[in-house]
Amino acid sequence: MGLTFLQPAFLLGALATAVPILIHLIYRRRALVHRFPAVRFLLLADKRTARKFRLHQWLLLALRLLAILLLALILARPLLTGEDVQAAAALPPQATVILVDNSLSMQYREQDTSRLQRAKALVGHLLQGMRGRDTVAVMPLLAPSAAAATPALLHADTARVEKELEAILPSHAAVDMHDAFARAFALLRQSTTAQRRLIVLSDFTVHGWQDFDLSQFSVLPEQVELRFIRLGSPQRDANVLIESIEFTEQPFIEQVPLEVKVFIRNRSTETIRHLRLDMLVDQHKIGQQLVDLLPDAQVAVPFRLTAPTAGLHGGEMRLESDRFAEDDRFYFAMRTVAPARILIVDGDPGTSLVASEIFYLLSALQPNGALRQPVFHPTPVTWEGLAQERLTDYQVVILCNVEAIAPQLRQSLYQFVASGGGLLFFAGHRVDAARYNAMFYRSDTRLLPMALAQPIQPTTPSEIETFDGGHAALSLFADELGILQRGLFYRYFSLEGQDQAPGVQTLLTLQDGHPLLVEKSVGSGRVMFFTSSADRDWTDLPTRTAYVPLLHGIVSHLANLEAASQRPNVFMPDPIVLQGRPEDASATLSLHTAEGQQRLVRYTADATGVHASFADYTVPGLYRVETPRGPDVVTVNATRAESNFDKLQQDDLQTRWRPLHLTLDEEESLQPDTMASTRSSKELASLLIVALAGILALENVYANRL
């Protein structure tokens, strides 16, 4: 057995034993002098008591000196070491790098503590076994951003190491095992000591290890002892999570019912019953479901809600928390709009509504009984009454077979579109190509996407051949081309220079190659031209199934109802990317994080377009942005990659670390008093504190008795 001290400098405190002696000498010199007549009795008394008194005084002094010595010893932290410790003390210095897994899976809780907390406590025990000449560095597996990181160094300052340990926080960053071990190896290579050790504390879930192999490293430090410590069970941990959500009913028009499906997965071998799932919108709980889950099964839980009033709305799905709470919440956001106001101009009113040009169109945009709340508010007007209408009250203007429009009105129409409004032309017998070209193509109010040529009346009615399935207006038909192809077109306008029309997009094309529907942006708005009629004069499309959804798609697109949608979502650590327009290049947007902080982000332009990117965030939640075009919301959700708690076993790990040999210790097999090292040593401070308390109590009693 041997004795050593962890803080030997405090042994100098033993010099304080001179203090009681000095106090006694000073006290003695300051004794009062008193002339007293009965000194003879004092002399007699002194003879009787002096010897006994002096003995007591010496004992008292000895107790006080012993108390001071004990205090100095306690502060010096004596350590009683076993033979193996002494043998270890004779060993050369050791450099140790400790990697602490701070990925999200380490937030799994057992006994009210997370695995990361327990890992840090274990590191604390490991540090107790450090000798004065050993060096150590503690690093997180997932390093903080380059701006926040301070370089790790091997050093012997235990207090500094403990601060570094304290600074390790859970991270949502992507797991990069190669980078983590590259940093560790770099540190170990810098050390000149012969003994090197790498300790890794992790739960060893499969995520991040899939692509790891030691052969990826060209240089390895020599003679490295590998010790891996697993936190938690080697078996898969049970976990239930919200994987994603999907809005199945769109658009997001206020007061219109919405349906959303929440996809929940049970990653365990147990059946789960009556798991509570709550839906909140704008922090109000609007729905709850109790869910049953079979082992390793996924369920889609439907919720119906009514779209709130026009604006931006944040929401949250909350699953009843389990041991891993990070994937039990799913944030979402949506923008809702008011129903679009559509002005429908009837160029050929007829004697009744049924006979009018706009009958089918009006019916399609205002279907009876299909929805409780309308998506559109169509307002019919004759071409004569158009001048009385205030175009700014509408999102879309539809000109159905209108023969002509006065110049002043054309100007208003042009301003309306350039300011963001939508314009849809339907052809008909009143539309003259030359006149239209003069009004709307070869003029300063150029609204037509292309110039009109002469109408075509094929001998055999034409059908829709192709369509742009990626266009927002036709997204409903992405998998349903057959429905569109059932329409017959007897008469339609051909368009000039369709191959050389810049900025013009053809959405529908007939069998003979003539475009049926074209689009062009004008200013902030859009214009579409349907080369056939809106009614049954030139086509039977109004009687076809595709008519209503086609018109809904076109009008929604022109009314920019796409903005009414679920807002973008990212999973950490992916960056938030916001697309901008060409004119936004070098502009800035203001971003308010879920933690309440504000950041300014600049738009940049590259080959893919103009966008603003932000990745410097640490918590999931709603992130509100102020873009040049107004406010928006982006939701950030925790990565689901860490939700899989399948574990790597020792064989697997050993295979990846071949040819190096590693030891894998399970947390449940470790005890704190063995963690200091494999060494048998015992700190004596606690025993000495008890002894000191006893001596002080004895001194107090003895001094009072005297």
């Binding site: 003695r28 009062l32 008193h34 000194v39 003879r40 004092l42 007699l44 002194d46 008194f53």
Partner: protein
């Protein structure tokens, strides 16, 4: 009463008022007949002329001083010393140890007040009172006389002296013993910080000579209780070389044992010799101590 370092009167009106109604009788028959309060067949007849007083009807004709009549043409009676009256001698210790006082009153002053009060009482009774002041030796011996004029003489001496020097009570007693020929009362007022054996031997001598001996053991509160707390160097008042550095808290118990044994020894020895021993702490008001004492005697 207060500690006097300058000339002061040792007549305390309070004390005198309280004892004026009391008397001090000798407990034992002294020579002859008790006088003052005591009846004497020898009243007015003595070989020693004392004074004249004017004739009043009822006086004996044979006591008329005809010479004085011839001179003054008025009748006067001669008064003589009454040898059979009580003769008391007060031995007052004036050594340096008597200068100690902790409660604002020195033992010496307390002793002087006691001596003055006793002298007043006895002289008022018509007794004879003498005074011996001593330290290492007799400083002054005033033979016993009667009368208020003698009281003034006693007071003057008390007021003039200061306590100093060592204590040798036995030497003082021995020196005066030869002068005390008649039986009477011996009052010793002292702290008795002397060799008890030698003191008691002389006191016993006086007892054997049929004197009534009264010892007034005057002690200070600090001597009796030793209330000191701090580490102190105690220096003897009569022998500066005698010094003790001590923590009073550690030595108190033993000291108190010693002083109590000292007092007990005197008490028991005096009781054995039928000496009237009284401990008079200076913290006890003299009027209270004296009236208690006199009442007990009565």
């Amino acid at each position: 009463m207060h500690t006097g370092s300058k000339r002061q009167s040792y007549f305390d009106p309070l004390v005198l008022a309280k004892i004026s109604t009391m008397s001090l009788r000798a407990r034992y028959v002294v020579e002859g007949v008790l006088s003052g309060l005591h009846e004497s067949p020898y009243r007015g007849y003595s070989v020693e002329f004392a004074e004249h007083r004017e004739y009043t009807p009822g006086d004996e004709i044979r006591r008329i001083d005809w010479k004085a009549y011839g001179k003054f043409d008025r009748y006067f009676i001669k008064e003589y010393e009454e040898e059979t009256n009580l003769r008391a001698t007060i031995f007052l210790d004036t050594s340096a140890s008597m200068a100690y006082g902790s409660q604002g009153l020195r033992k010496f002053d307390y002793g002087c007040y006691l001596a003055a009060s006793m002298a007043y009482l006895m002289l008022r009774q018509g007794d004879y009172v003498g005074l011996v002041t001593f330290d290492a030796q007799v400083l002054r011996y005033i033979p016993p006389r009667s009368g208020l004029q003698h009281l003034q003489a006693l007071m003057s001496h008390l007021e003039a002296i200061q306590p100093e020097g060592e204590t040798h009570l036995d030497l003082a007693l021995r020196e005066i013993a030869g002068k005390v020929t008649k039986r009477g009362m011996i009052m010793v007022i002292s702290d008795l910080f002397d060799n008890p054996e030698t003191v008691l031997r002389v006191l016993k001598y006086f007892r054997h000579r049929r004197n009534e001996v009264m010892v007034f053991h005057v002690l200070d509160h600090n001597e009796l209780e030793f209330p000191f707390e701090r580490l102190t160097v105690f220096e003897d008042m009569e022998d500066p070389t005698a010094r003790v550095l001590s923590d009073p808290r550690t030595i108190r118990e033993a000291y108190l044992q010693q002083i109590r044994a000292f007092i007990d020894d005197y008490q028991q020895a005096c009781r054995r010799e039928r000496i009237d021993y009284n401990c008079f702490p200076t913290t006890t008001p003299l009027d209270v101590a004296l009236t208690r004492y006199l009442a007990r005697r009565q």
